[in-house]
Amino acid sequence: MPVKRWALVLFMVTLGLLTVHAQNPPDLEKRLADLERKMKQLDPAFVPAPELTLIQRLDALEARLDQALTARTAVAAQAAPATPPPSAFAPTQAGPALQPVSVSGDFQKAADSETRLPVAGYMDFHVNKLSGDSFRPDFHRFVLLFGHSFSDRIKFWSELEVEHSLVEGGEESGEVALEQAYLDFLITPKFNLRAGMLLTPVGIINERHEPPAFNGVERPFVESIIIPTTWRELGFGFTGDLGRGFRYRTYLTSALDASRFNAEFGIAEGKSSGFDASMRNPATVVRLEYAGVRRLALGASLYSGLAGYNTPGINPRVTIASFDGRYSYRRLDLRGLFANTWVSAAGALNQRLRQQTGVNPNVASQMRGYYIEPALHVLPRRFRHDVIAFARFERYNTQQAMPAGYLPLQQFNRSSWVTGLTYKPVPDIAVKFDYVFNRSQSRVVNSLNGVNLGIGWWF
């Protein structure tokens, strides 16, 4: 009670002082005029009316201020929509410690801005033609991505794909595949946990395969054959940003299945994709990336795991080392990748698979591939549309080194030139055309060239 009484006394004294200070009518008038002038600075539409009484002028000023405050609140709400309530992990949350002042930029001016949907996704429609064959249209990929934030620290991400547009039981057709579905537990920028169905972090394309993100209708051969695509496994691991542009991901994942290795596609068909996978001998994969210089991205990946859970008595170890880089300078883009795969006990694996199936798969003990792709943005930067001319040279050999007693099949020692154009009316739509010159070291098997048309989009 005494506190309340003192507060009341203090309030009355303050009010009295203010009243005494402000009771001089000319002073009052001057201050009101000053306020009206400032209001006009804020809102040029406001017109002072000195002929009115003091009360009327105050009413007008008050009404105008209310309007300005209402408009300001609406703009702030538009600029910062629905912010979730702060989570229990307070230390890295920004409260009033970072006070937003203003938001501006081109996104507010765009009259033709996109409509936002609660899901993301990408689609890929191709028309492929090999020499001597007819044009074959294919709605290759229809992919929807869903994410959800349980809190600012726990997030879910998923990717569900329909390939080749049709899925029917027991018939050769497309597939419905869960490409990703994982939870991220964000602890510190340097150390986070991830668990679920994970994309194996090897190479460029496996984690960045949205159609506008690469040139060419089809993904590079090296990143389809030497490195499986889309390679996903069940597992868990750690991710983080080490600072100075360095990031890492390291996972323990389900193993490759060596019973599906072969001469043509190397280890690519051994991915489990989360179905009937084995974690008895989990594989280890680690990727380190550097993106500390603008428009330069470098990456190195190392994968190692036993793959013999379907080949009793034989447990070959698969090791993959890959290095990749992307760089843009003005209107020129450059990207390249090198990958080498080792398969231990390949001779014993071939013998065991021949016993199981009656066919020698001729699995190599080493597979190797690389590609380099320069690309030029043909139109000047001021154009809203983008046309990219590119040429990609790829060398990929799934018979690089053979175990004792096995000869390499030279038709699988291949190279390709992929040349073409990518047209982007907006950055997220890519209309693609390319011509593919395929060659192999075989004198018997003739490699076919091909032409591809495609349109892909991301939203």
Binding site: L15, L18, T19, A22, R31, L35, K38, M39, Q41, L42, I55, L58, L61, L65, A68, L69, R72, A76, A80, T83, P84, P86, P91, Q93, A94, P96, L98, Q99, P100, V101, S102, V103, S104, G105, D106, F107, A110, E114, A120, G147, D152, W157, L186, P189, L199, E207, R208, E210, P212, A213, D241, R244, G245, R247, A291, G292, R294, R384, P427, W458
Partner: protein, 120 residues
């Protein structure tokens, strides 16, 4: 008395508005360019001084991204490559480390597209 009270309230409200207008119009103490690309911000760590008026100029190298500072009421769209930039101004009131993140789903690495603002 009523007139005086209303005058006082009006004056305080007008002063607040003018102050906010001044922060928005005055030259920022620091302007920092941040580019967004699947799935990184570059730079991903930004250091500013306490009390500074900071302006982030946000651009994208590919698709559109978002820039959100959880709990601070900052959440803006970054337009895609070639479609301009977004500018965010804020005052770093307190020392500490604050996470910013992409708020627009952009692909497999979206959840980890994050960075840190360190206020010293």
């Amino acid at each position: 008395m009523v007139v005086l009270m209303r005058l006082l309230l009006t004056f305080v409200a007008a002063w607040g508005l003018l102050q906010a207008q001044n922060d928005a119009e005055r030259k920022p103490d620091r302007v920092i360019s941040i580019s967004a690309e699947r799935f990184t911000f570059n730079p991903s760590k930004v250091t500013v001084k306490q009390g500074e008026l900071v302006e982030f100029v946000l651009t994208s190298e590919d698709t559109d991204h978002g820039f959100r500072v959880p709990g601070a009421g900052i959440d803006v769209a970054i337009p895609p490559l070639g479609r301009g930039e977004a500018r965010v101004r804020f005052i770093a009131r307190e020392k500490g480390k604050f996470v910013f993140e992409c708020s627009r789903p952009c692909g497999a690495g979206h959840n980890l597209m994050r960075g840190t603002i360190e206020v010293k």
